[in-house]
Point group: C2
Chain length 659, copies 2
């Protein structure tokens, strides 16, 4: 039977993803702010509490919530550790607080209060009867001091003490507390899930001579990649590559004798997903690469591409995991009429799906055991959501620090579902959002909607699969502006390495794909080319690393500019100690200028005060005043500016800079 | 263990109230439109079905849903009977449909299809192995006719038949179907819950001489009230009235010897909530009133006021249901510093709450047994939500036709929660919404937001408790315009009878309460006064009853007018056979005119065509053309117009009206 005396209703708890079906995500150390409607019938005083615990703790922590408008309450807690947490909301009628509030009104209205005081004392005594013996004396003390007053108003003053109210509130009858019907799950990731800077490479291209590069070759570049400010070095698949139907240059279906094949065509007689391509090195070389990266403050990210080449050992060992055509030929990957002859997909609907899941899980655990904690997952949208949810939950039981990046460029619902089932970060449509309205609309969707609770964007201006038109035709300025946008709009971003540094812009005709793609051949990048953007990238990454306002994505705010070619936005730390403003000229061909409207009131700046903007790429400074200020960006010089705002400018001394 | 091969995800099913915690409400005969995100990984073809059943049926009905944009699907069913229903959504991958679609693409691309045809036939044979024997022959037939073709394209044409697709879709493997995790509840009310016209009276005021009116007196007025177009006659409480602390005229705390007391101070030595005030008559008189009302197409609504006078029999029989002060005096109702000495509330937090609930339930059942099916519930927001939910569920088990109107003028969350727990209709803030922006904002909230799924507004321009300022000062035009607004904005509306008909506007000083309120004295209304609005009200109610567009609330749409004093809106039936437009001058003092923008395209009217508006109160007609047209409303003549639109105007013949 229900407890009919629980009078408090709790509704609309937020954050909450799909009615609590999926966890809300936060970063370790973040404040988790929870809101709810909490109310009761009648006019009694309601108390609301936020309850939370780590999943492995038994007892709940309770913090009082504060009322907002319209029966909405807010409360927060610090999610200070990685892993799973639970939170929920409870509430109850505080009869003593109600009595206190009513007593005040009676006194103001000049009403008799003698009987009321007796009722109050009765309530204290009733509470005393419920508490553990230690607290008896405190309650008795309050009763004595109220009853000991001859003057009613003196007695009332004591009875109205907030301390007494808090004491009484602590001893509420537990069976009268209403609990929200769900315990919501919070997943807390480590900091890198929220702030990371990725550099993608094909290890085989980093050799010194003509031949196949090795882990050892790549290891020599670690100091330089680290100097550029990257903290995740993501390698294309490092496994043996299939021989059957191996692709040649430019994705041709006939491979030359020296064609190295696509690294995503995984598996050959030399091994499968747990093996290392023999020409890259041996396990100890890989472990050495991980160690060296760590010393330079970087982590290695591997590619999880759950698919096989036709000569992958699985095909022979587990033919039941694949689809076979009536003519006895294995079914390769297709999206009719497109064919991917060098790749065969797993059949996730096969009878033996559980064994398949277990085997794929063992691949993940193999690399986790080798020390890898970041995985970029290839085409996750072509494998069942339930599989990913199971895989991530399995991995995170013992390894809450594992990070998964979803490489799904597909329909919005599919992308968000993948984030819900547990991807830590996701590729986005940023790659194709070029105009101000496209960028602003998309970012608002990412940061204001429900997505912000579980979908962490990772912005990529290019990938080995995508050379967007804007980079094909926009020249160096396009690369600069897209890098600044990616690096400052999103706290997670990455580039497909040297092809970006060197502003490679040659595409297949009428395609957004690289000509002579590194996917099908070994490249030799001229890393020391004077045209390289490396120093510029180093500068932007340093600005990111030094400015905590850029460590988050959801603190983004756009400013109005009267020129559609200029986008202007701001990020700030909560305490305003770091305010970063970014201006980008989206037109890579022409100088653009406009007037930006700065919400100075919001920044604690009065309209009379001037404030200094320090542009961090060029190290130039300028003084602004009031709401409306001028920006001017020349793509021939620098199409973007990243400013920190000094709000506590003392005019006399700072003027030295300009005189 | 989960079935890992269920690949379809189902999210965001709508309508859904509080994650399915509360039922969605509809009216018998309405179409229930359900939407959901239904999608899977990969590129396979997905099928979505809406499932529904009456609560007392065992098996589900399934209807295919149609895709909208972005993986959203829609489907509907007819809720043709009162009572509880369930609905949910399921989906699966249609492999055969996928195969058909891919086959088409292969043919267009000129690819080999021989192997594909073999795969298709294999799929048909596989399905055949799962079906009941009766269907074997059908499957065999399809296989034979595909296999019998020598020409591949002829075979393909047969294999691509939609009929074959539908057949295959019907025999999906049941264990691969994904079901939405919740079965949602739909509560279907009878029509009157959605369209009703209330007239509120104090039966004791309808006597013929000086004395206390009786049911028999009221019965004589039934034909006239029915003629005015009302279908619910709501009576103030009909029970014995307490003597202790009885209120006198104008709510004075000392009652004169002849003071009849407030009907809401229920109970005396003469009986309680199941008794009838002796001066109103006996049970058979009440039964006769019900019978007579029914004959005239009206239903009697009673007031459920769960509170007592201090001399209610319950106080002696069940002192444990009340609060007692330390001095042994019963606790009367208070909202400090306000006191309601003639009323004592039940203590819903008493130990014996279950017995209290049962007894209150027995009151409801008593009147249901007498034939009452509509209850207006007094101050439901001062009793626990859980109590109402229990009470309504108990009553509706055997009486799905019972209607409850919530008289809660309180905070928004409390009002909506009461609707969620089961009130069929709710009083609203309409009573205090006067300006165009107030009205439009509030109505948009009621009809566009989540409220529309469970909160049915009932608009009251006045009640015995509320004489709004607008009616105090606006004169007859204010009564006319507020009546038209209530009657046309909301499909449920009501008035506090004769005080409205007679435009009573005298209030207590600086209050929104009637002077010499009928709550504390017996009134004699001059029903035949020439100032009475009765004929006007009759006209408006007739228009309501004759125009199906006005039988709903959620089909409301506001038009733009360039004058803030004129509000203009439209309601239509889905098939456009009835389009009603309403114009109201919100300024009761001055003539106002403006230009209204009619969305003619939306109404199937071209900009060249003229269309006729027939104003139904004055029976005048006018011709409009194009989007922009003029309205002019003089409060001295008629401050409102209710138009029906004739879209199929044949110009020649209709011109006769004007020549």
């Amino acid at each position: 039977m229900i407890e009919g005396r629980k009078r408090v209703s709790i509704e609309a708890v937020s954050p909450e993803v799909d009615c609590g079906r999926f966890p809300v995500k936060r970063i370790a150390g973040e404040k988790v702010e929870v809101e709810a409607h909490v109310f009761a019938d009648g006019h009694d005083q309601v108390v609301a509490c936020l309850m939370y615990r780590k999943a492995d703790e038994v007892s709940w922590n309770r913090v009082f919530m504060s009322p907002l408008e319209n029966d909405r309450w807010t409360g927060s807690f610090q999610a200070d550790e990685m892993g799973a947490w639970f939170y929920t909301v409870c509430g109850w009628i505080d009869h003593f607080l109600t009595w206190q509030e009513d007593l005040k009104k009676r006194i103001y209205a000049g009403q008799e209060i003698e009987q009321e005081l007796l009722i109050g004392v009765e309530m204290i005594k009733e509470a005393r009867s419920r508490v553990d013996e230690d607290a008896d004396e405190i309650f008795d003390g309050w009763c004595r001091s109220i009853e000991g007053q001859e003057d009613g108003f003196r007695a009332a003053r004591i009875a109205l003490s907030p301390e007494l109210g808090i004491l009484m509130s602590r001893y509420v009858e537990e069976d009268r507390i209403s609990f929200y019907e769900k315990e919501l799950v919070l997943w807390v990731d480590r900091e890198k899930a929220g702030f990371s800077t990725w550099y993608e490479v094909f290890p085989r291209s980093w050799g010194e001579g003509e031949g196949h590069g090795t882990f050892a070759d790549l290891e020599k570049q670690i100091p330089e990649i680290s100097r550029m400010g990257f903290d995740v070095l993501y390698l294309s698949p490092i496994h043996p590559i299939g021989m059957i139907n191996r692709k040649g240059r430019n994705n041709s279906i006939t491979a030359g004798p020296d064609s190295p094949g696509s690294p995503w065509a995984i598996g050959s007689v030399e091994g499968g997903h747990k093996s290392i391509h023999p020409q890259l090195g041996r396990e100890e070389d890989f472990l050495s690469l991980i160690r060296c990266s760590k010393e330079w403050g970087m982590e290695i990210a591997l590619d999880l591409a759950f698919q096989c080449s036709p000569d992958h050992p699985y095909v022979k060992e587990h033919p039941e995991w694949f689809r076979w055509r009536p003519d006895g030929v294995i079914q390769y990957a297709e999206n009719p009429p497109k064919k991917y002859e060098d790749i065969v997909p797993f059949d996730f609907e096969c009878q033996d799906w559980q064994a398949l899941w277990d085997e794929l899980g063992s691949i993940l655990f193999h690399w986790i055991d080798m020390g890898v904690r970041i995985f970029r997952v290839d085409n996750p949208h072509t494998k069942p959501f339930a599989f990913w949810e199971w895989l991530f939950n399995s991995a995170r039981k013992d390894h809450p620090d594992v990070i998964f990046l979803s490489e799904a460029f597909t329909r919005p619902r599919v992308m968000s579902r993948l984030a819900k089932v547990g991807f830590s970060q996701s590729y986005t449509y940023f790659t194709w959002r070029n105009t101000k309205s496209e960028l602003q609309t998309y970012l608002e969707e990412l940061i204001r909607g429900e997505l912000r609770e579980y979908f962490r964007p990772n912005f990529w201006p290019n990938t080995p699969d995508i050379l967007p038109q804007f980079l094909q035709f926009g020249g160096r300025a396009a690369f600069v502006s897209r890098l600044v946008l990616a690096a400052t709009l999103s706290s997670n971003y990455g580039i497909y390495g040297p092809a970006f540094d060197l502003c490679v812009s040659e595409a297949m005709e009428d395609r957004e794909e690289y000509a002579d793609s590194e996917k099908y051949e070994i490249k030799r990048w001229d890393l020391n080319s004077p045209a390289s953007l490396r120093d510029f990238i180093e500068r932007v990454n340093r600005i990111r690393n030094e400015n905590p306002a850029l460590w988050k994505t959801f603190n983004l705010k756009f400013y109005e500019v009267d020129n559609d070619q200029i986008i202007f936005f701001e990020k700030r730390t909560e305490d305003l100690s770091n305010v970063v403003m970014v201006a980008v000229n989206l037109d890579p061909f022409h100088r653009q200028s406009g007037t930006v409207r700065v919400p100075i009131g919001d920044l604690g700046i009065s309209s009379e005060d001037s404030y200094m903007l320090h542009e961090l790429i060029s190290d130039e400074r300028c003084l602004w005043q009031g709401e409306f200020n001028r920006v001017d960006l020349d793509p021939g010089i620098l199409p973007a500016g990243i400013f920190i705002v000094n709000r506590t400018l003392r005019k006399e001394s700072d003027f030295d800079y300009f005189m």
